[in-house]
């Protein structure tokens, strides 16, 4: 059944989602600041009104803009709208999830988070892949499946939306760490150890935010990380490799500006963990690297030498 679907954000992910929707036969309203987009059969608009004609709206803007864009969009929405965001970020100084922020700034309650090993480039070229939707509303999982799912894209659902959102943020940080390790020439065993440290702290963070640790075993955590190691060449991992070979630190800030969420997430996840007396060594190390207070090779080698039992935390 053909539907009208809204996409907010004309970046790589927004365009890939728009393209996937049109491929499934839907009519897409793409809100973007740029007047022209290069996606065929997609109507680009700079106004939220046509977007609000859709029941299902994907939000593909960086976490730092979701509040502002959500407020503007929200003025055109009511209770029938379903919002699904695709960001790996969190909002505000604490660990406010973006789904919570969307519920605060818009009247929409039916919200979801699309996450997992879903990379814009692969979505656009319809390679085999998978994704997970965190939402308390089963109808949202159905709607996302109908919008972008198909034989090449498996879409799974979970009610643990907080778990999905935190897992997604943590995996972003671990992806950079794995990129650094790979750039330093650290072998598979070392990378695996690093991944396990990251997953342990991910589980602690997810639980402290009210999510379920086992969400990390699925597409939102473990599978997402396997995709990184299997070489999906995602931006976080590429950035990690660049760090390893000594790119200047201005580059980190620049990339953060280009909305690589993980750069600011490392510090915030670590601060949250510290307040709750939870060990989060990977986030701590990466935050120091991003802020330029530690050398990447030192940070990774210290992590590899650390004792996971000692980092068990609460």
């Amino acid at each position: 059944m053909s539907r009208v679907i809204g996409v907010v954000g004309g970046g790589g992910f927004g365009r890939a989602l728009a393209s996937a929707c049109t491929h499934n036969g839907h009519e897409v309203r793409l809100w973007t600041r740029k007047p022209k987009v290069d996606v065929s059969n997609v109507v680009a608009t700079q106004s939220f009104e046509p977007v609000a004609e859709a029941d299902l709206i994907f939000i593909a803007v960086p976490s730092t803009h979701i509040g502002e864009v959500g407020r503007a969009l929200g003025a055109h929405l009511d209770g029938r709208h379903r919002l699904v965001h695709v960001s790996r970020g969190l909002a505000g100084p604490g660990l406010t999830t973006l789904s919570k922020l969307l519920r605060e700034v818009t009247p929409a309650r039916r919200v979801g988070a699309l996450a997992g090993p879903l990379v814009a480039e692969e979505l656009a070229r319809r390679a085999d892949h998978s994704a997970i939707v965190g939402t308390r509303f089963p109808e949202i999982v159905e709607a996302v499946r109908a919008a972008i799912g198909g034989s090449h894209l498996y879409v799974e659902g979970t009610s643990d939306i907080v778990g999905v959102e935190i897992a997604s943020a943590v995996v972003g940080v671990i992806s950079v760490a794995l990129g650094v390790a790979s750039g330093l020439g650290i072998g598979p065993g070392g990378q695996a150890y690093l991944a396990s440290l990251g997953m342990r702290e991910g589980a602690r963070l997810v639980e402290s935010a009210g999510g379920r640790a086992r969400t990390l075993f699925g597409l939102a955590g473990f599978a997402d990380l396997v995709a990184v190691v299997a070489g999906d060449e995602r931006p976080e991992w590429r950035f990690g490799r660049e760090l390893a070979v000594g790119k200047p630190k201005a580059h980190a800030a620049e990339l953060a500006e280009a909305h690589l969420e993980s750069i600011s997430m490392a510090r915030r996840l670590h601060d949250h963990a510290q307040q709750r007396a939870i060990a989060a060594p990977v986030c701590e190390a990466m935050a120091a690297v991003f802020e330029g207070t530690r050398r990447p090779d030192e940070a990774i080698r210290d992590l590899l030498a650390s004792d996971p039992a000692g980092s068990k935390g609460a």
């Binding site: 209770g79 700034v105 818009t106 009247p107 309650r109």
Partner: protein, 567 residues
């Protein structure tokens, strides 16, 4: 036939019972509707639970099994009367035809629904609102009886109650939609106190479920039963019974009966503000809204978060002991607490008589089932300030539909919103603040012990009065800043009085009612006599521990939350 209950509460004969007038709240016409309500509830539960033939047998077996277990453990008159029926019934189930099973289920559900359904007698209502508070005061304090009964002005009980919040708005909303009051729950007195408060400010009476243990006192039972309360027998563990209760609550909201639910489920054992809610009845009200919408009934439902704040809690000692004992399911049923002991009531009332505003009921701003604020005309307001139609939340492809999974998700979110609202609407009083300062002093002095060891430290630790006064002052200041940020509220007394008076008031309230003294003054210091009681009162402050500016506050909070999450 099926007997779940041996005794029924007393009703007055129906001659002379007055007819309803247009504009009366729905509850005034309850008795005319009762049979229809009972039949509707039984039919809906039968459709819900009995749709699958295999499931049907399971439902009947579940009912028989749990009733036999309950009756055997009760071993009372009811058991004698009903056990033979259930024992023979459980043997027959497997041999019944599908038709017979359905008939048995229908009969059982009808019986359950009839047992749950209350009564509303306008005469009892008129009597209760006029004379009862005075009579009750008089009973507790005979010397005041003449002035209570014949005096002018508010009765003592009315002076004890302070009612705050957007009352005018609630009065207007009563005519626009159905109000569902969702207060915090500390005491068995809550429903009585809330009903009195509603009447006092001119709001319509509400229907609510009351535990059957509240019906053991014949006088209270008479009033409760005839004022629309429905009976909840927590001993019945039959699955279908829970479904009957929930459906009954839902049907009442669908039919525009203003309702009262305690989303905490049972009284807060720890004294903490509820932070985890039972979503069953909340969900019933949310579903009532969507079912009405799907049937073209556009009437809104408004949730009114409320806090009932006591300076002194009737059952404090039993509740906190029960919390520490942690007896699993047994915790849900306390049969013989202070509420069922008339001597404790009398002591309690003698104590609080002298205190004005010993109980503050604070109604918060109402919200729609989706957490949106409501304007003065009863419309839902979006974050943008736009008016939105709450019906839009029930739409699917442009049509309002019922959807249990969706409504369950809305209910979860509503529960989260209520937890935040409870904190914001809580009114902290002298007893809670002083208890916290004393308790955290004890935490500092017993840092190597755990909660269980600490609460046994009776009379071992004291605190110089001057230090206590200074710290009470500091805690009050921190709470006042939090109040300005909208995070909590502080009682007028605490706002206006000196720390010396605040401490004196707390000590005065505790002494003489609770069986053990909480603390007493001795040579310029306050001696901590009963840490357990202090723990109960201070737990109200635990969500605000971060802002109280002391490591001991934080440490106390960390311990309490760890205990809470371990159960």
């Amino acid at each position: 036939m099926l007997r779940f209950l041996s005794e029924r509460p007393i009703r007055l004969p129906q001659w002379n019972a007055s007819r309803t007038r247009p504009g009366d709240p729905a509850i005034f016409g309850f008795n005319d509707e009762r049979d229809d309500i009972v039949a509707t509830v039984a039919r809906r539960v039968a459709e819900l639970e009995g749709s699958n033939p295999q499931h049907l047998e399971l439902i009947l077996n579940d009912a028989a099994y749990h009733e036999i277990r309950r009756l055997e453990s009760q071993g009372d008159k009811e058991a004698k009367e009903s056990l033979p029926f259930w024992r023979s019934f459980i043997r027959r189930i497997a041999k019944m035809s599908e038709h017979e099973k359905r008939r048995a289920l229908d009969a059982m559900l009808e019986h359950m629904a009839r047992d749950v359904a209350g009564n509303f007698d306008r005469r009892v209502y008129d009597f209760a609102r006029g004379a009862a508070p005075r009579l009750l005061t008089g009973l507790m304090q005979p010397s005041s009886l003449p002035s209570e009964l014949f005096g002018k002005g508010p009765s003592t009980i009315e002076r004890l109650l302070n009612v705050e919040g957007p009352i005018d708005k609630l009065r207007r909303l009563e005519d626009v939609g159905t109000l569902v009051y969702v207060p915090t729950h500390s005491s068995n007195m809550d429903s009585i106190v809330l009903a009195t408060a509603l009447d006092r400010v001119g709001l319509s009476p509400v229907v609510y479920g009351a535990g059957k243990n509240l019906f053991t006192n014949p006088i209270i039972s008479f009033f409760m039963h005839n004022l629309g309360a429905y009976r909840v027998d927590r001993r019945i563990r039959v699955r279908a019974y829970k479904s009957v209760l929930k459906t009954y609550a839902q049907v009442m909201v669908e039919r525009n009966y203003h309702s009262l639910f305690f989303p905490g489920g049972t009284r807060s054992r720890s004294g903490m503000i509820e932070h985890r809610l039972k979503l069953g009845l909340l969900g019933a009200a949310v579903q009532a809204f969507s079912r009405n919408q799907a049937r073209g009934i556009g009437r809104p439902v408004y949730f009114v978060p409320a806090t009932i704040n006591y300076a002194l809690v009737l059952e404090a000692e039993t509740l906190i002991e029960d919390w520490l004992k942690e007896r699993g399911q047994a915790r849900y049923i306390i049969e013989d607490d202070e509420f069922s002991r008339i001597d404790r009531w009398a002591a309690f009332f003698r104590k609080i008589m002298g205190l004005s505003s010993a109980c503050i009921i604070r109604f918060g701003d109402p919200i729609d089932p989706f957490g949106n604020p409501i304007d003065d005309e009863g419309r839902s307001i979006a974050p943008s300030g736009n008016v939105i139609d709450p019906r839009s939340y029930t739409l699917r492809d442009g049509k309002a539909v019922e959807d249990h999974a969706r409504d369950a998700a809305y209910t979860q979110e509503l529960g989260e919103i209520l937890v935040t609202r409870y904190r914001e609407e809580t009114v902290l009083m002298a007893t809670q603040i002083v208890a916290h300062v004393l308790y955290r002093h004890l935490v500092e002095k017993s840092s190597s012990r755990d909660v269980y060891a600490r609460v046994r430290m009776r009379g071992e630790v004291s605190m110089p009065l001057s230090t206590l006064h200074a710290e009470v002052n500091a805690v009050r200041d921190a709470l006042l800043s939090a109040m300005h940020r909208g995070e909590v509220r502080v009682s007028t007394f605490v706002r206006a009085e000196t720390p010396e008076r605040i401490v004196a008031r707390a000590l005065e309230i505790w002494s003489g009612y609770h069986e053990r003294t909480a603390a007493h003054v001795e040579r310029g210091s306050v001696v901590i006599d009963d840490p357990l009681l202090l723990l109960y009162y201070q737990n109200r402050l635990m969500p605000f521990a971060e802002i109280l500016g002391s490591d001991a506050s934080r440490r106390a909070a960390a311990e309490i939350y760890a205990l809470e999450s371990s159960r």
